[in-house]
């Protein structure tokens, strides 16, 4: 027994030293590590076990540098080398947009990767979560994520879409697949689901585990009526409905081996995308059978126009949003005889981790 004492002592010393350092940083665990989603080779931003974000930037002549995350600005502190460093309060698990503020200029953190959201390409950070394994890169068969340009007569443009094809699509050339059309939120774009949503990895892993049927996922830009950011109330569904239903779907059904019928077509969206999903699935019930509304619109029983052809209505939210409304609406749908399901993402708000989890749940229910 006695031989172990020096080790115990050293451990206690190390812990005490750790606490000391941490208390100099306003409390918390001093176990900050570089995010694996940083720019190649970048040591910052870092995250600790409490979900605090620490940033660092060389700005020798600046007067004030702040980390702006979760709608709070945290002052960084300058050291003798002109490097500013500091950290945020603990953040929810999952993905968050953020930026730096240097003497009044809001700029991306050059250490982070860049994502489109909050109306701009800018910094994003990934706080570790207990279920991040769902989008880990694993040694499983991988699908492909394809960028395609499709012709749109109604907007007189070539428009971009991302198309996920599941593993096996290239080999099983006689097989046809169901399709999910998946929409981003307000001030996001067609890159948001593939990048911060990590759709391809979520699907690869679910399919490898046998939890989801292989299907195609299509993501395009949903703000097509030329509204400027900031005017969501003026949003008119018609221009996007035309692009999606009358232009993109026929293109996908021509270019990909789809099961091109209502029972094998789903639509889902997050936030503004859920409003689009509700509006379009109400307007065109002959097109989609499976409906996913993540953190936004809710279906009421009397709004379901074609009860017999709707196979699933899935409604979800973060626990920090409005779980009661989601449960209530979904229970009412169930009682009216509709196959409806609700899902609440524990510990998350109106952010992408809620929507990844929603997709992860929704995908397991599709086309079965």
């Amino acid at each position: 027994m006695k031989t172990k004492q020096p080790f115990v002592f050293l451990m206690a010393f190390a812990l005490a030293a750790g606490v000391q350092v941490a208390s100099a940083q306003a409390g918390g665990a001093d176990d900050f590590k570089p995010s694996p989603y940083n720019q190649p080779g970048s040591q910052y931003p870092q995250i600790n076990s409490e979900g605090k974000v620490r940033t660092r930037i060389l700005a020798p002549d600046a007067q004030k540098v702040q980390l702006d995350i979760g709608a709070v600005k945290y002052d960084l502190v300058k050291n003798e080398e002109g490097i500013w460093i500091g950290e945020s309060a603990p953040q929810d698990p999952g993905f968050h947009y953020y930026q730096l503020n240097i003497d009044g200029a809001s700029v991306p953190d050059p250490g982070s990767m860049f994502y489109f959201g909050a109306c701009r390409w800018g910094s994003g950070i990934e706080i570790p979560s207990n279920d991040q394994d769902m989008f880990a890169v694993k040694n499983v068969p991988h699908g492909q994520l394809r960028e395609v340009l499709f012709p749109s007569a109604s907007t007189n443009t070539s428009r971009r879409a991302f198309v996920y094809t599941p593993p096996g699509y290239e080999k099983e050339t006689a097989k046809r697949y169901p399709v999910l059309y998946l929409q981003h939120g307000y001030c996001e774009n067609e890159y948001s689901w593939p990048m911060q949503g990590r759709v391809n990895l979520i699907m690869d892993n679910l399919i490898a585990e046998g939890k989801a049927k292989p299907f195609i996922v299509v993501m395009t830009y949903g703000m097509t009526n030329e509204i400027q950011f900031g005017r969501l109330r003026d949003f008119d569904i018609k221009p996007f409905q035309t692009v999606l239903v009358d232009e993109l779907i026929p293109f996908v059904d021509t270019q990909f081996r789809t099961l091109a019928n209502q029972p094998n077509r789903a639509m889902a969206g997050l936030s503004m995308g859920s409003m689009e999903t509700k509006a379009i699935t109400m307007n065109r019930p002959e097109v989609f059978s499976h409906i996913g509304l993540f953190s936004g619109a809710l279906y009421q029983p009397e709004e379901v126009k074609n009860k017999s052809s709707i196979k699933l209505i899935f409604q979800s939210t973060g626990s920090k949003e409005r779980p009661d409304a989601v449960k209530k609406s979904t229970e009412a749908l169930k009682q009216s005889g509709i196959n409806a399901t609700w899902y609440v993402s524990e510990g998350t708000a109106h952010e992408f981790h809620t929507w990844r989890r929603s997709l992860h749940q929704f995908a397991q229910l599709l086309f079965k």
Copy 2:
């Protein structure tokens, strides 16, 4: 005649006013316009007809803000609203990396799109060129740009590659295609050719014009031997050669409808990628038949090991690099009986416009 005088006068006045404004900005044309490659809705950066870049950023409390482009830093000037604005000297046509400097902090310009180059994701700008039509989005059939993950036993990772499949690939399911393996430069990555190189659009347009045979293009990360940026001299070709030849090529030949033989396989690269191309095509002459060296390595006749199986050696450079060396080496190859071609990009240096043009030329010679 007299009725036209007021118009002539007004025009002269407008020109004089134009000159006045321009001279207040240290000379040049005052016809700055937002770049079409800006962030959505962003009015800056702007470019004028002389190729000057004008940037603008709100930084009310900053002491000094600079535009850092082409290895020169230009001071911006602050107005009463705390907005800094200013412009660069004329830049060469084509694509350039740049950044802002705010009180000593080097950061991306939040108005620009972000590209990987110069060892980081950061700002890039497109100066209009007289041949930018080659990568315009046109109303022609479009191929697909696919992100794939392939297993690499030698590095024990899943690695990313981008694969361009030409228009028609999805429909002509009995057809098999030649493949070009295309490498980025030092401190760039597998995103560089698809993003700033605009490979898919160059190929779509060439194929639509009947100038290039439809072929597949594969792009992956070429710095696989764990060297840190800044140590190019330590570069060992073997680890990447293993990934490319022994792992990626077999994967592509399994997953795509390729013509899986030496006559139908090309390799090209820019700068460091041209060194890789030369080394790998020398080490493995049985794998590739068509070789493209853009702005970097040059083949000498005595280095061509398998003269009868080499169908093409294409060597190129910007006119501001070293055209004489490229011409001399290529003429020597020709005299030794090798099918060799040189190309010089007029008015450009060691930058992506040189390499887009090189690809545009090289692609027209492939697999014919």
